[in-house]
């Protein structure tokens, strides 16, 4: 049984990384850490795809002269390149938002931000400049 478990070692890693990533996104209050969690989550998916692509006994999918070769599937790699780009864009956008949030709220902890929002909620007509003054350190 250990051998069959080891045979799908990759999938175990995928699964564990996925859960770690998801847990970080849900549990951590720091906005930056959430993005890190998201990245871990997305990376696990990359690993999943690439593992699909590997064929037992397959070699790199590059045409050389010889026939009679089993090639690994190159398509998942292409898909993952796309997904990595998407992930990079998401991370970049997330980080930009975090920078902006930091400059406006003065903190990147979700608790602090919620607390400030709650105060604002009762004080509905606060434009952003006034709040920046109010909370600037």
């Amino acid at each position: 049984m250990i051998f069959s478990a080891m045979g799908i070692w990759n999938y175990w890693v995928v699964f564990i990384l996925m859960m770690i990533g998801l847990f970080i996104v849900i549990d951590r209050k720091n906005l930056l850490k959430k993005i890190v969690g998201l990245t871990i989550f997305q990376t696990s998916v990359f690993l999943l795809y690439i593992t699909f692509g590997k064929i037992t006994g397959g070699t790199a999918p590059i045409l050389t002269g010889s026939s009679l070769t089993v090639y690994s599937n190159p398509l998942p790699h292409v898909l993952i390149l796309t997904a990595i780009v998407v992930g990079v864009a998401t991370t970049a956008l997330g980080l930009a938002l975090v920078v902006r949030i930091n400059s406006v709220y003065g903190s990147i902890e979700e608790d602090d931000i919620s607390a400030q929002d709650l105060i604002d909620y009762h004080d509905q007509n606060t434009p952003i400049e006034k709040t920046r003054e109010k909370y600037s350190k």
Binding site: I35, F41, L48, Y49, T90, Q124, P127, I128
Partner: protein, 497 residues
């Protein structure tokens, strides 16, 4: 030359706004960027109408990207099912762009306006690509394009209220998690079938029975799409995102973004997995149906307790999405048609409501709540009238488009599930009248301290609003266009059953 273009319309409808988005960001003059954006959305709308006409002769238009033939290449499909969201998205995009001209400068920094329009076009291109594509992974790409563009658009509302930033952040994180779930699902399906093309997937899935990977893949895909479509209880990101976004963006997103995802849901359930009937029926009856009923009531009840108008309308959107998914979950041909009818009508209704509220907010200058609205309806009779018509349409009262969709929805539910479902739908409709009436009363009757500015309505603001209101009434009287298209769509989706 035109003939050459005509063949490529299926891809042009996506690529044209995409290209123009890149051009608009380079324009620094605000008026010019709006103008280019307007022309682009107008041409996109024309293309969608043209595609609709073409569909009268051919039932499916299939376009192979880069001449790589499917199922190996990526395919774009325009058929009776996808043409409905295409027309909705391009139409609303055009009307919202007209409306945005006056509204954008009040809420966004003047040197960010052309960038906002560029993102606007990007979002529209992403949504159009989402509904046109016939390849599962390409769908993920467009899902993310539209999602990232929407997030940035929402964050642009930070000038007016900084809570837009945290709303956009939440939208981003939750949306990315959802899209990643979807991609896991696609990966699992790819592993067992070897193909990504939706039609091919359908064929190959037919041969596979009782495979855990299939069930897992199905589950992940549905979960991911449910997050994007804001189906209860995965809707948390929506109220704040729509409430704090710039008003023009709320109009665009509220009317289109969730619709595209619901369309994808219908595709997955009824098209790709059409052969795994047991699995799909189980999901529909035990998961989507109860969640839709919860959505209807949760959305409506939360809206009743909201004071902030845009959040109220966002909660109401959750309830309306519940109606559409309810229609799909009943699963018969007439109920799926009812779902599409409501999809089309709700886009018009929500678009109209947001436009009306935005027009009023333009003059009030403060955050629009039930208290700040007091009595302004009397000074803006045209806008108020349009608001009333769209509210009555939302509640499903006769002579409006909303009535038609309610009628078909209830008829389909009573026919297959029995009276109890019809009662639930009508009960939540009656409840929705409570918050609608609160808004109408707030607009009509003054509160104690009446210090409303004297306003004179501006034609630019209410012209697209009038168009949408007119459409609401027109499709309430002569619904044959929408009803026939929806029945065609339902026919195509589950033809034999």
């Amino acid at each position: 030359m035109i003939d050459y273009l005509l063949i490529h319309f299926p891809i042009l409808i996506v690529v044209f706004p995409l290209m123009m988005a890149l051009i608009v960001v380079l324009i620094s003059n605000n008026f010019l960027s709006w103008l280019v954006c307007l022309i682009t959305t107008f041409i996109t709308f024309l293309i969608s109408i043209f595609l609709f006409n073409q569909l009268q002769d051919v039932s499916i238009i299939s376009y192979a990207l880069g001449n790589w033939l499917p199922p190996i290449g990526i395919e774009y499909i325009i058929d009776h099912v996808s043409i409905i969201p295409i027309i909705i998205i391009s139409g609303i995009g055009f009307l919202a762009t007209i409306f945005a001209y006056k509204i954008m400068p009040t809420e966004i920094d003047s040197n960010s306006i052309s960038k906002t329009y560029s993102l606007w076009l990007l979002a529209i291109a992403g949504l159009l690509g989402l509904v046109t594509t016939g390849d599962a992974f390409n769908l993920f790409v467009f899902l993310e394009i539209s999602s990232l563009a929407s997030v940035t658009l929402v964050a642009m509302g930070a000038k007016k209220d900084r809570q837009a930033l945290i709303a956009a952040y939440n939208y981003l994180i939750i949306g990315a998690v959802g899209a990643t779930f979807y991609v896991i699902g696609v990966g699992l399906l790819y592993a067992i079938t070897g193909t990504l093309n939706m039609n091919d997937l359908t064929e190959r899935l037919a041969d596979i029975e009782n495979n855990r990977a299939l069930i897992a893949g199905f589950g992940f895909m549905i979960l991911g799409i449910m997050i994007k479509a804001a189906i209860f209880p995965l809707h948390i990101w929506l109220p704040r995102a729509y409430a704090y976004a710039p008003s023009a963006v709320s109009i665009l997103l509220a009317a289109t973004a969730t619709k595209a995802s619901i369309y994808i849901l219908a595709r997955i359930l009824f098209s790709i997995f059409s052969t795994s009937e047991e699995l799909v029926n189980y999901t529909l009856t035990y998961i989507i149906l109860p969640l839709s009923i919860c959505a209807m009531f949760a959305g409506t009840i939360m809206a009743i307790y909201e004071k902030d108008i845009k959040r109220l309308l966002a909660h109401s959107s959750i309830a309306q999405v519940g109606y559409i998914t309810l229609a799909f979950s009943v699963g018969t041909k007439s109920s799926i048609a009812a779902g599409f009818i409501h999809m089309a009508n709700h886009a018009m209704i929500k678009g109209g409501l947001f436009m009306a509220i935005t027009s009023m907010g333009y003059y009030i200058q403060k955050r629009i709540t039930l208290d700040t609205l007091s009595g302004i309806g009397k000074q803006m009779p045209i806008t108020f009238f349009c608001f009333i018509v769209c509210s009555l349409s939302l509640a499903g009262l006769p002579l409006t488009a909303g009535f038609i969709s309610k009628l078909y929805l209830i008829k389909a539910s009573i026919s297959s599930e029995g009276l109890w479902l019809g009662f639930l739908i009508l009960f939540s409709s009656a409840l929705s009248l409570v918050y609608l009436w609160k808004m109408i009363e707030a607009l009509w009757l003054n509160s104690k301290d009446n210090n409303q500015p004297k306003v004179k309505e501006s034609p630019i603001l209410y012209s697209s609003l009038l168009v949408i209101t007119f459409l609401n009434i027109y499709f309430g009287l002569d619904a044959s266009f929408i009803v026939d298209s929806s029945f065609n769509a339902a026919d195509m989706l589950i033809g034999r059953r």
